[in-house]
């Protein structure tokens, strides 16, 4: 059907959608802490006492209001798994295809929270040895959020 001789019309069109997304108060607090104090903060559930990360108004396990008992996640953790992109893919936020230069990693922070971030190391062989890592914060131009951490750097022990 697609290979008949009739001319088929199509229209290429990219309509940029503007957005203004609000963090709300809980993630807003986390943003404020990264921006002002270079620290990751979660809120501790009033019932199970676990740190909820990213901070949320309701504990996903207990389904109760978490409250505002804020605790630090710390800067150090262990890489559970990582991968890196080989082929560029479309990024709608920048409107073009790109491959992020830094590997994506799942990290268990020493406080017990699991976060997703990037690794500084880009060499595939050296990456295999990266286990213990520490957050490298932006010294200038922090705006709030996870991008205030540039990436995680390998550390000893």
């Amino acid at each position: 059907m697609t290979d008949n001789a009739e001319e088929l019309i199509h229209v290429e069109y990219t309509q940029p959608w503007r957005y203004r997304w609000s963090t709300g108060k809980y993630i807003g607090k986390a943003y404020a802490e990264t921006k002002r104090n270079k620290r990751l903060m979660g809120n501790r559930c009033s019932k199970c006492q676990e740190i909820v990360w990213p901070p949320e108004p309701v504990c996903p396990r207990c389904k109760v209001p978490t409250g505002e008992k804020w605790v630090e996640l710390g800067d150090t953790g262990t890489v559970l798994q990582y991968t890196y992109q080989v082929m560029p893919m479309w990024d709608p936020h920048v409107g073009r295809a790109r491959a992020h230069p830094h590997p994506s990693a799942n990290i268990r922070m020493d406080s017990g929270c699991h976060i997703m971030h990037r690794l500084e190391e880009t060499d595939p062989e050296k990456l295999k040895k990266v286990k213990r890592v520490k957050a490298v914060w932006k010294e200038e131009g922090r705006q709030g959020g996870m991008d205030d951490i540039l990436y995680f750097r390998a550390i000893d022990g």
Partner: protein, 389 residues
């Protein structure tokens, strides 16, 4: 449970990478006409219509409004359903609930996707808002990659096993005239030589972006028995949701929170008296967006012990000729029109029960089959089908 419900009509398009010859309504119409023909019905016999796709993928707001005539929804009740990757099963679930509740006697469920009209990877990235994590997300691929690495580390599976899954899928796809990628692969070496996309996953480890639609006609017991000589009964459907931040996207690397597919399967089996899965179920059509997911899904659904999914592949247990066939159709890695994919899983499982799967028909007799859907942050829908209730 409510009234008994059967699938009495099955229709799907030939899935392809490009469909410039049709717009979305026309593409859907092909599947609807095929389902009506299969059921030997006319559209006036349909009482309600449910449609669904991955929103934003085609750049059309309210696509259901544009297709009311072609979907059969014109002048009828129903709605558009959006539930990310599970949408294609949710449309069936909605139709199932309506008929089971006695609201109507017949309902049409349509899942579709026209990937050539948009950019799926770009659209998927918008699942993650810039508020939280869009800078880290590249669709679901990175999570698949990390899951594959963890699976290898934990279980002893090797890249060769993932390649075997691909080879098995291609064998089925080549026997399925509706399948998209029919590569005619002859050995796992061809797969192991394809280029890396997200290390260690290669192009041939992944599904393609397909265009197509799948439509199912559901009917109440008295209508099904009157109209159809081979109804396939929906014994049960179950949905389990999961929150996005508590797990890795497709594998809980924390090892703490239960996985949605495990929760759904345990509930479904308990509710339906299934105690030995491979004895009580004959075949499965599962949602495996990459070949690695196929092996972990065997484990999540209790087809085997934890860490042993790759052994089922190595022993060819899940081949078309095997003792427990899985994805005879070629599965998702051969054909993925996301909004239609879970509908196709149910359709293919139903065809196997009817004995109408042609060259891809399993060797053993299929009386009970399981179809799965997986989407977004671990949302799961399972459908249990039976030849008789």
């Amino acid at each position: 449970m409510g009234n008994r419900v059967a699938i009495i009509g099955i229709g799907q398009t030939h899935f392809k990478s490009k469909r410039p010859d049709v717009n979305i309504p026309e593409m859907i119409n092909e599947a609807v006409r095929a389902a009506l023909a299969d059921a030997e019905m006319e559209i006036k016999g349909i009482e309600a219509v449910f449609t669904g796709n991955m929103e934003t993928f085609e750049g059309v707001c309210h696509p259901d409004h544009w297709m009311a005539v072609e979907s059969g929804a014109f002048g009828r009740p129903g709605m558009k359903v959006g539930a990310a990757g599970t949408t294609g099963a949710t449309v069936v679930d909605e139709a199932f609930h309506m008929v089971a509740a006695g609201v109507c006697d017949t309902a049409l469920a349509i899942g579709y996707q026209k990937h050539d009209q948009g950019n799926a990877t770009g659209a998927l990235t918008t699942c993650c808002t810039p508020v939280w994590g869009a800078g880290f997300a590249v669709g679901a691929m990175q999570e698949f990659a990390k899951q594959a690495l963890t699976y290898m580390e934990r279980t002893g599976a090797r890249e060769e096993h993932a390649a075997m899954v691909r080879l098995k899928a291609d064998y089925g796809a080549c026997r399925n005239p509706y399948a998209h990628l029919r590569l005619g692969l002859s050995s796992i070496d061809e797969i192991l030589q394809s280029a890396y996309l997200v290390w260690p996953l290669r192009i041939l480890d992944f599904c393609p972006q397909s265009n197509g639609a799948c439509a199912l006609i559901l009917a109440s017991e008295h209508v099904a028995n009157r109209l159809s000589n081979k109804p396939v009964w929906i014994a049960d459907m179950i949905t389990v949701h999961q929150t996005q931040f508590r797990a890795g996207i497709y594998e809980d690397l924390t090892g703490r929170d239960p996985y949605s597919q495990e929760v759904a399967a345990a509930r479904l089996y308990k509710r339906n008296g299934i105690t030995d899965v491979r004895r009580d179920i004959d075949l499965a059509e599962i949602y495996e967006p990459s070949n690695w997911q196929e092996m972990t899904t065997y484990e999540h659904l209790y087809f085997c012990e934890k860490g042993e999914g790759w052994k089922m592949v190595e022993k060819h247990m899940t081949d078309i000729e095997g003792e427990f066939p899985v994805n005879c159709s070629g599965g998702v890695i051969a054909t993925n029109a996301i909004g239609a994919t879970p509908t196709v899983r149910i359709a293919e499982a139903a065809l196997q029960i009817r004995g109408d799967a042609g060259e891809r028909q399993a060797t053993r007799d299929i009386k009970t089959a399981l179809a799965t859907a997986l989407g977004s942050t671990n949302w799961t829908i399972l459908t249990l089908l039976r030849r008789s209730l």
